[in-house]
């Protein structure tokens, strides 16, 4: 059985972890929104027709990791 002091420790640890991650979370959300708004200007990707191979895959992958889920 989990004691009351254990639950208190878990809650304290959770609050500490959340406060530690909060600045990173906020930076990530803002960076994601900024990238999404920037990338939305380049929706016409017909240029991919002219390019294929390594650099196309690289560019598509870079766009993939830059897009917030």
């Amino acid at each position: 059985m989990v004691s009351a002091s254990t639950v208190t420790d878990i809650v304290k640890e959770s609050v500490y972890s959340f406060l530690h991650l909060l600045p990173y979370l906020l930076i990530g959300i803002f960076a994601g929104a900024l990238l999404e708004a920037t990338l939305s200007r380049y929706q016409d990707i017909g240029w991919l027709k002219k390019k294929s191979g390594f650099f196309s895959y690289l560019l598509v992958s870079l766009v993939g990791v830059s897009t917030p889920l």
Binding site: E13, Y24, I45, G46, Y57, S61, G64
Partner: protein, 241 residues
């Protein structure tokens, strides 16, 4: 993804997107940096991009040999004589039919604020809070010796085990990061943590269910194989470096 599929884009261009997109995002990068440090965050993003490029090359080879013909539902609905995409990128002109991009500052601001306030962002924060609590419970209730005995650097099976563990434990990027942090603090090797993050993200229920809805069996098998083998490879590579 849907406009790309309906425009008949080749799988060799879709696969890098399908693989790299769930593996990383700006939110994930900064959360990993905060929880596990910048080397791990950089390793995760390099692994995601590299896996995307490798998957594009492998998919291109398979596509040229005809193994991936008619693998998406949009293609099966096309009428005979209609244009379809192929490995040379033919058929991509349809992509220009996508909605006009906002070129004004007002349009930019609209998308920026919409992205900040969308449901996905609120869900991300909610899941993070829940899984921070779960991770704290693991930290306090699970003995460190258990974690070291399963995921310690000296065990050869730590990386495959972490990759397998990532499949059921992974709900979203925000949920897995606190759990990975707790496991690393408890003795999990960095390579195993990277394998856990990569395999979990790629094979999570939302990623697979989305894929199953729009593609056919061969693409799903290829996708899962590439993500899982890639997670093992980059996990091993990170533990060696």
């Amino acid at each position: 993804m849907i406009p790309l599929l309906t425009a008949g884009a080749p799988w060799a261009l879709l696969m890098p997107w399908m693989i790299s997109s769930p593996l990383n995002s700006p939110n994930t990068f900064f959360l990993i940096a905060g929880a596990l440090g910048y080397p791990m965050a950089l390793a995760q993003i390099v692994a995601a991009v590299s896996l995307g490029v490798i998957s594009g090359i492998i998919t291109d080879c398979l596509e040229r040999k005809g193994y991936l013909n008619d693998q998406h539902f949009a293609a099966s609905r096309q009428k005979p004589g209609e244009r379809k995409g192929n490995a040379n990128g033919d058929g991509l002109s349809g992509l220009t039919m996508m909605p006009a991009a906002p070129t004004t500052t007002k349009g930019f601001r609209q998308i920026f604020w919409r992205s900040l306030s969308k449901r996905g962002t609120r869900r991300l924060v909610r899941q993070l809070v829940i899984f921070i609590f779960v991770a704290s419970a693991i930290k306090i209730l699970v003995p460190t010796s258990w974690i070291i005995s399963l995921f310690g650097k000296e065990h050869w099976y730590s990386i495959p085990l972490a990759a397998f563990l990532g499949i059921p434990l992974y709900v979203s990027n925000s949920s897995s990061v606190p759990i990975a942090q707790t496991l690393v603090e408890g003795g999990m090797s960095p390579g195993a943590a990277l394998a856990f993050l990569l395999a979990g993200a790629g094979t999570s229920l939302p990623a697979i269910s989305g894929l199953v809805a729009i593609t056919r069996g061969r693409i799903v098998v290829l996708y899962v194989s590439l993500v899982f083998i890639g997670a093992l490879f980059f996990g091993l590579l990170f533990s060696v470096l």
